[in-house]
Symmetry: C2
Subunit: 432 residues, 2 copies
Amino acid sequence: MKTLFKNATIINFINENINVIKNGFLSVEGEYITYVGSDLPEGNFDVIKDMKGNILMPGIYNCHTHTPMVLLRGVGSDLPLDKWLFEKIFPIEDKLTAEDIEAGSYLALMEMVSSGAVSFSDMYFEPERTCEAAGLAGLKANISRPVQCFDPNENPTDSYRIKQSLSLFDNFNKAYNERILIDFCIHAEYTCDEKTTRYYSELCKEKQGNLHIHLSETLKEHNECIAKYKKTPTEWFASLGAFDSRAFAAHCVALSDEDMDILKAHNVSIVHNPTSNMKLGSGFAPIEKFISKGINVTIGTDGAASNNNLDMLEEMHLASVIHNGFSQDATLMSADTIIKMATLNGAKLQGREKCGNLLPGFKADIVAISLDAPNMVPCLDAPALIVYSAGRSDVLMTMCDGKILYENGEYLTIDKEKVYYDVRKAVERLYN
Amino acid sequence: MKTLFKNATIINFINENINVIKNGFLSVEGEYITYVGSDLPEGNFDVIKDMKGNILMPGIYNCHTHTPMVLLRGVGSDLPLDKWLFEKIFPIEDKLTAEDIEAGSYLALMEMVSSGAVSFSDMYFEPERTCEAAGLAGLKANISRPVQCFDPNENPTDSYRIKQSLSLFDNFNKAYNERILIDFCIHAEYTCDEKTTRYYSELCKEKQGNLHIHLSETLKEHNECIAKYKKTPTEWFASLGAFDSRAFAAHCVALSDEDMDILKAHNVSIVHNPTSNMKLGSGFAPIEKFISKGINVTIGTDGAASNNNLDMLEEMHLASVIHNGFSQDATLMSADTIIKMATLNGAKLQGREKCGNLLPGFKADIVAISLDAPNMVPCLDAPALIVYSAGRSDVLMTMCDGKILYENGEYLTIDKEKVYYDVRKAVERLYN
């Protein structure tokens, strides 16, 4: 199958810098991009899509989420964090079955492909269902089963969570043509202990895994760790070997300068979750500082229970404007920086070679953004339009590995009616 | 013409408190709502619309914008404020013709009705074109011609800006069945002088006008005023009689506590513009303090040149989350508060009786929000869904004065092709 996109405004990266090609051509053969440029490429094509000036950009990476939590969308909104978590969220999560996880995963995939995401980094229970859903629906995903330890007497070798994590790795890593990768995961410093973290980090290193953690999401959590261990959460994780393999950390609102240096020295990527950090009152992750230190910074939505959606275009918008406001500097974040965080940097975080860019030889992970709606007129600056003006409804098409997953409002790989039916059944049981 | 909406999730206000009716009915006759409640109202209807559980809410008020600036969308993004304004915005504005203003106004109206706005408070040049556009397209609008004074020797009675403002008032106030109201407007303290402000405020009082101003948008502007006059901008306006008639002030990022008390004492409404304040690095207007002092607080998009869209649902989302983040308090803003700011409070600011609520006897200004997209599933909390999960694409219908302006993606009162053609011509001339 050979597809040619013509007359497109193409956004890609040349030597890490954003580049815009007007009236461009892009060809796809099978899973790969074969041509990007200003000239009509040679050859015959099965499908020719006239983009009529619309934008083609790399597929978006949602680098920290808990997909099945879409089933808890809007639960306990506007409560303080501890009441929200302990009185509202945990009691519902306790009732979730594997079937619920599957229904919620599919609902989340619909949200993500319809807002331009081709890949996501997930942390949740019953992750096999999410692996299968993402695999069958044609997305990429880095999926993990969070490890926690609440029993100080538990021997890590007996931890069912670690066993589940390892079996997930053995059963699903590189599944579905390597679209599904399995990450290791320690939920957070405050939900784990030293021996479990040390043991599991060693396992992660042995398997050459990629470790997903929550890190210094709030100043309270950060300071409580210092009081308990005389170490920041970053120092604590580092001292236990958690950063001796590839790793990435969500939130990072309360990092010290020294923490940032530790993360940089260990090539740990950071996921910025602006809506969740704002909504839950956690504060502002100093992402401009992370970037200036050379850390790979990406963007994630967090779960829908604290967002309350999985819309990466909205997340990019927040990431682009709130730090200017907080630092009172209109030049702090640029549209170019935000687009790179949401695409190329995401592929790096997930350890995906030849992904996150629109160049020949790269995987054909492509989002088409329409310029038809009034909020997209005129198109004077395509990257600015995407970051400051666009919304989910401007996503015309989402393609992953050369396969169209969403186009013109239709889900081509997900049965919307079945998902809505399953979600309705789950919600009726969970909330009655 | 009698219309019945059935099976709707209706959001309205009872005694200023938000109220949700499930499986509700709402009837409209001519311009007015005739019934809202849980029972099927008596009578025959010309049209019956089955809402299938979708949400009906009051039409949204965009209380501070500069509509024709959609033609400058994306110009000079990511530049510092003064470079952006003097090197990019002003040179283009200098070239704008009345025809451009008309084309830009219509483009802005398309953006607004498709994102649920039924009314807006505008401040720009050649406002007659905006009045006609909004009037013909069926929206409500409070429109003003900004008064400025850059020549200290100019006699206010000779000011062509004041003459234009008065002639606008005489020609268009209460036009189009009172949907168009004309406001008075002083652009800002830093662009006007004492004698002009005093003279024009007196005229506003005589005509029982409503005065639209920019106020303490940045700390720099606020402090420069104190250095110049030994008064804050609020004290300066108050001392010149600007608040002796009805008035409303946009931005208010840098108000002192005493300023807030002055505004409250004079019943001055405030318009919060979160995206613009963030994007331009102005900072956080302490809206929770304004609210606690009993000030009428509303929301606006500001112009598209500093936003870069006119999407009030996006603006409501930002207003709902950024203050929690800034104050590190997850309970600071609630969905209910935000919806009221964007609807009922907006109608109060504009001086519109029997508007901004869904109750019998009120103008039929109604937005229907679809629950069909995955980001709106499940519907556990309708107000939270609107503020935290919804986007422009979830707007199913926008009705103003009983007339449907937008439905299922179609503009029923605006010729999209003509607007796009006119905008393209304007853009070609402005940027070449």
